[in-house]
């Protein structure tokens, strides 16, 4: 009878586990409370079936266990009972499905006044774009992507010129206003996933996908990629800062437009973002700027600074080290070597690592800052 006891223990254990579990939904930070409600409805109805059926089995096992001389009943079917069970199951299914579809009807109807945010996913970082004063986003296409045009905006489209570009992994959003997120990729599949918002969608190169939500909690939320996009997938980190509308407007106003980014100078401050822009060009400031760059350019997706294995060589102790290259030759990693690696990553490879490092757009100033940061990870 151990199996009957096991079934009962599993049922009770599962319910207790659920009640005591510290692992459950992250606190909701968007309008999609309905999604949490449908989850709860589903949990209650399915949980009821799980408990009842398993306890019924346990009871049957005890009651009808084999005893000498016992013989099974010969009733092979009961139309009536089967019809009842079909009916009950159908009712259960309708109770599950109906609220789900009602919520989904909301999900496919973004409010017309929603703020439009474009999220650009690329291996392995996030960029963001808002429409400028014109209120409409300019055209973009993979053909236009270049070192100084990561979004692939069409330079001939006047609408593109006032688009606000955020070439970093952090975006700000105003509290309480619906946001329609347009999703775009110029390389592979991604998925912009912020667990507390619930809403999300895959990003598919060659098309624009979308979803909408209204941020209802201020705070800084982690965004992650939830569609396998290669070896750096698990480190494709982004942040969404939800703040008061005034603060958002102030932040947005400090960002760079496409036209400004294409203007000859100064490029460095624009790409690094407001945080590093005001820094004095001292050594520590350079390292700090490099750290910000390592985050915003997505370097940290593959290169650790604590010596843990990553997709690429760890930066801990990298500077000054002698590395063996794929062709068997060796090279001392100094400033020149690092710059060559970053500018032309496919030209030569460190032995044992895959040839997957993208050539990123970077000014000379940015490169110097990044190298200073890598250098700072070497033992003194």
């Amino acid at each position: 009878m151990a199996i009957a006891i096991a079934l009962v223990v599993i049922v009770i254990g599962s319910v207790v586990f659920h009640l005591l579990s510290p692992w459950w939904l992250t606190p909701l930070a968007s309008n999609w409370a309905q999604m949490d409600h449908t989850l709860t409805i589903t949990l209650v109805i399915t949980g009821l079936f799980f408990v009842v059926i398993n306890l019924f089995v346990a009871y049957a096992l005890v009651r009808f266990r084999h005893r000498p001389g016992r013989r099974a009943s010969a009733q092979p079917e009961s139309r009536r009972l089967e019809h009842w069970l079909i009916g009950v199951s159908t009712v259960g299914i309708v109770l599950l499905l109906a609220p789900g579809l009602v919520v989904y009807a909301d999900y496919v109807h973004p409010p017309p006044d929603a703020l439009v945010l474009e999220v650009l996913g690329r291996q392995w970082q996030w960029h963001y774009r808002f429409a400028g004063a014109g209120g409409r986003l300019g055209r973009s296409d993979a053909r236009h992507v270049s070192a100084n045009n990561p979004f692939g905006l069409d330079p001939d489209d006047p609408l593109a010129h006032d688009d606000v570009l955020i070439v970093g992994n952090e975006v700000h959003l105003p509290l309480g206003r619906p946001v329609k997120v347009l999703l775009r990729s110029h390389d592979v599949l991604h998925d912009f996933y912020v667990p507390p918002f619930r809403a999300r969608m895959n990003i598919v190169p060659g098309q624009v996908t979308s979803f909408w939500f209204t941020p209802t909690q201020a705070g800084r939320f982690e965004a992650m990629c939830a569609q396998l996009c290669g070896v750096g997938h698990h480190n494709m980190r982004g942040y969404v800062v939800v703040e008061a509308p005034e603060a958002f407007q102030a932040w947005l106003g400090a960002q760079t437009t496409f036209a400004a980014a294409r203007a000859p100078k100064p490029v460095a401050a624009a790409a690094v973002g407001a945080a590093a822009a005001g820094a004095a060009p001292g050594a520590d400031a350079l390292v700090t700027q490099g750290q910000a760059l390592a985050q915003s350019k997505g370097c940290v997706a593959c290169h650790t600074i604590d010596g843990k294995p990553g997709v690429g060589p760890t930066w801990k102790g990298l500077f000054g080290k002698t590395e063996t290259l794929a062709d068997g030759s060796t090279v001392v990693i100094d400033e020149a070597a690092l710059k060559t690696e970053i500018r032309t990553p496919q030209a030569r490879l460190v032995k044992g690592f895959p040839p997957v490092m993208p050539a990123l757009e970077m000014s000379d100033d940015e490169l110097a800052a990044l190298v200073a940061y890598i250098r700072a990870q070497a033992p003194r």
Binding site: I53, Q75, P76, V108, L189, R198, G206
Partner: protein, 589 residues
């Protein structure tokens, strides 16, 4: 009809024709099963390596991100295709169909032999990718383009090519086998074996084979198209895009096209694995509860309806894929409709226990474990099938836990139960009971301990296919501790499978001799003149069937079961087709 052909074929004479180039369905079944189990062990080892990284991130330096994604991918593909599909259709299908319908062999024995050797070739090609430059593909078992064939994904050169070629070869093997199984069921049933007297095992395998014949072509064409995209630079699935920051020559293709083709295969594939398990478990529960399966005809119809519906639910795998969101309404509805016939099957299994005479043999224990595991996995399917519940859960560990419960562990529990059940017929010896119970308890409780808590990590929002979860603030330390616990459970369950393999090998040579029908089952395969059955199965005369396979507890009969081929006077007929109440005929006093 084949039952006119009572003359036995010539039995093979040499070792080579008897065990290697063999056309006997039983030998081919064993070849299929041994190959599948061997490759399955590789799959289990890969899963344990994966779990080592998740449970103890950073401790094992040789598991770098590339290898991790390669383990994930190969584990998934091996378990779904090369283990479960091959084992249920090629293994159980081959062994059981001719014996259960009273045929001397499959109708195309040569094709059947070819099917196995082509399958073996597909396995060799797959395993070769471990040794190819760059290693096997790490694109995830769904092989989604564009990343599957682009740098940034491990094995994007040789690995993905070998994977696709291996799949194409596998599909050729499955098609050869599948045509055989379907034709044998339709054409080679012995006298009296009407379709509605066939054991549910045969029904499950039969319908699953039809699904395979209809679904695998979708995978075949998508495999060919992706190979062309990879090798010739076509753009079936490849839009204009950049790779590692550089422009490529691709233009105009659609990644979503691949996803539709993949899941048009992929969802029926779930039932290609599940329907044979449904069928087999129905037989196990009936034999070991000594009671006719409850609602046999409803069970048959449920299998057929589930099979048909499985072709119109595929896009529930794509609710957040970026397809037209309006599809969500249709596919959520069709998906939840399929839950009704599936629920009916669960009720009927449970009701078969009611007023039974339940023997808790090892096959029965695995059957009961299947019931709980399948119920759990099926119910979580109602979360993921309901589009707005799926949106936050999609791509998280909730999905991983769900599909492992419903189409990983549940069918494997049936595989184990079935092997303990039919091993005496296959080998003439019993599997060791104590080792069997040890294997059962560790596997059943262990897998539940792995996958039940895993759902909660998914609800928390932890995405699947993550090499590690370092420095994500929303993930509490306790979630990492839970991952460590799951890894320990997975290692224990993995080790327990060695007990099973040992039991198989040991009992084959040293197991207690089995009688011809140790479980006192009523279905035809237990009434071969010899155990194990020899070539041609039935001696000079084919058996004649007089009743269904579920004549248990027949009132007035001398024993508590009546064999399918016992004379009509023994009673125990199937319920009359139009009798309404379905009263069983009693044996004459």
């Amino acid at each position: 009809m084949a039952y006119d052909d009572d003359a036995p074929h010539h039995a093979p004479q040499t070792f080579l024709t008897k065990y290697v180039w063999c056309q006997d369905h039983k030998v081919i079944a064993i070849q299929y099963a041994s190959t599948a189990i061997t490759v399955g062990i590789v799959g289990v080892v890969l899963s344990n390596l994966m779990r080592l990284q998740l449970g103890f991130p950073g401790y094992f330096e040789f598991i770098n991100p590339e290898r991790y994604y390669q383990f994930v991918t190969m584990h998934g593909m091996i378990m779904v295709i090369y283990l479960l599909t091959a084992l249920f259709l090629g293994g159980f299908g081959n062994y059981l169909i001719p014996l259960m319908v009273g045929a001397r062999d499959m109708v195309f024995p040569y094709l059947n032999m070819l099917s196995f050797w082509v399958y073996l070739l597909s396995v060799i090609v797959l395993m070769a990718s471990f040794f190819a430059p760059g290693g096997p593909t790490g694109a995830g078992w769904t092989l989604y383009p564009p990343q599957a064939i682009l740098p940034g994904t491990p094995g994007h050169d040789w690995g993905i090519i070998l994977m696709l070629v291996s799949l194409l070869i596998f599909i050729v093997a499955t098609t050869m086998g599948g045509l055989n199984y379907v034709t044998t069921v339709l054409q080679a049933r012995t006298k009296g074996m009407t379709l509605l007297r066939m054991p549910l095992s045969v029904w499950g395998i039969f319908v699953a084979t039809i699904l395979a014949l209809l679904a695998f072509p979708a995978l075949f064409v998508s495999g060919v198209m992706m190979l062309l995209d990879k090798t010739l630079g076509t753009s079936f699935f490849m839009p204009a895009l950049l790779s590692m920051g550089q422009a490529t020559g691709y233009k105009g293709g659609s990644p979503l096209l691949f996803q539709h083709l993949f899941w048009f295969f992929g969802h029926p594939e779930v039932y290609i694995v599940a329907l044979p398990a449904f069928g087999i478990v129905s037989d196990l529960i009936s034999v070991h509860a000594r009671k006719s399966i409850f609602g046999y005809r409803t069970m048959v119809w449920a299998i057929v309806v589930i099979g048909a519906l499985s072709f119109v639910v595929w896009a529930h795998h794509m609710f957040v894929s970026g397809m037209n969101p309006w599809f969500g309404f249709f596919f959520a509805t069709s998906t939840l409709i399929i839950a009704v016939p599936t629920a009916i099957k669960v009720y009927n299994w449970v009701l078969t226990l009611w007023r039974g005479d339940i023997h808790l043999s090892v096959p029965m224990l695995f059957t009961l474990a299947f019931l709980l595991t399948f119920l759990s996995g099926g119910l979580t399917g109602l979360f993921l099938g309901n589009v707005s519940v799926d949106i936050p859960l999609s791509g998280t560990y909730f999905v991983v836990a769900h599909f492992h419960m419903v189409m990983g562990v549940a069918p494997l529990l049936v595989v184990f139960g079935a092997i303990y059940h039919w091993f005496p017929k296959v080998s003439g010896r019993m599997l060791d009971d104590r080792l069997g119970r040890l294997h059962f308890w560790v596997t059943f409780l262990g897998t539940y301990a792995i996958y039940f808590p895993m759902h909660y990590l998914g609800v928390l929002g932890m995405p699947r296919r993550y090499y590690n979860f370092d420095d994500y603030a929303f993930i509490p330390p306790s979630a990492h501790a839970l991952n460590t616990f799951i890894t320990v459970a997975a290692l224990i369950v993995g080790a327990a499978q060695l007990v099973f393999v040992f039991n198989l090998v040991w009992s084959t040579f040293r197991g207690a001799r089995a009688s011809a029908n140790p479980w006192r089952a009523a279905s035809l395969e237990w009434f071969t003149p010899e155990t194990p059955p020899v070539h041609n199965n039935w001696g000079a005369q084919l058996p004649v069937v007089h009743r269904w396979a579920y004549a248990y507890g027949v009132p007035g009969a001398p024993e508590d079961f009546v064999a399918q081929n016992a004379p009509p006077e023994a009673g125990g007929m199937e319920p009359e087709a139009h009798a309404g109440a379905g009263k069983p005929q009693e044996a004459p006093a």
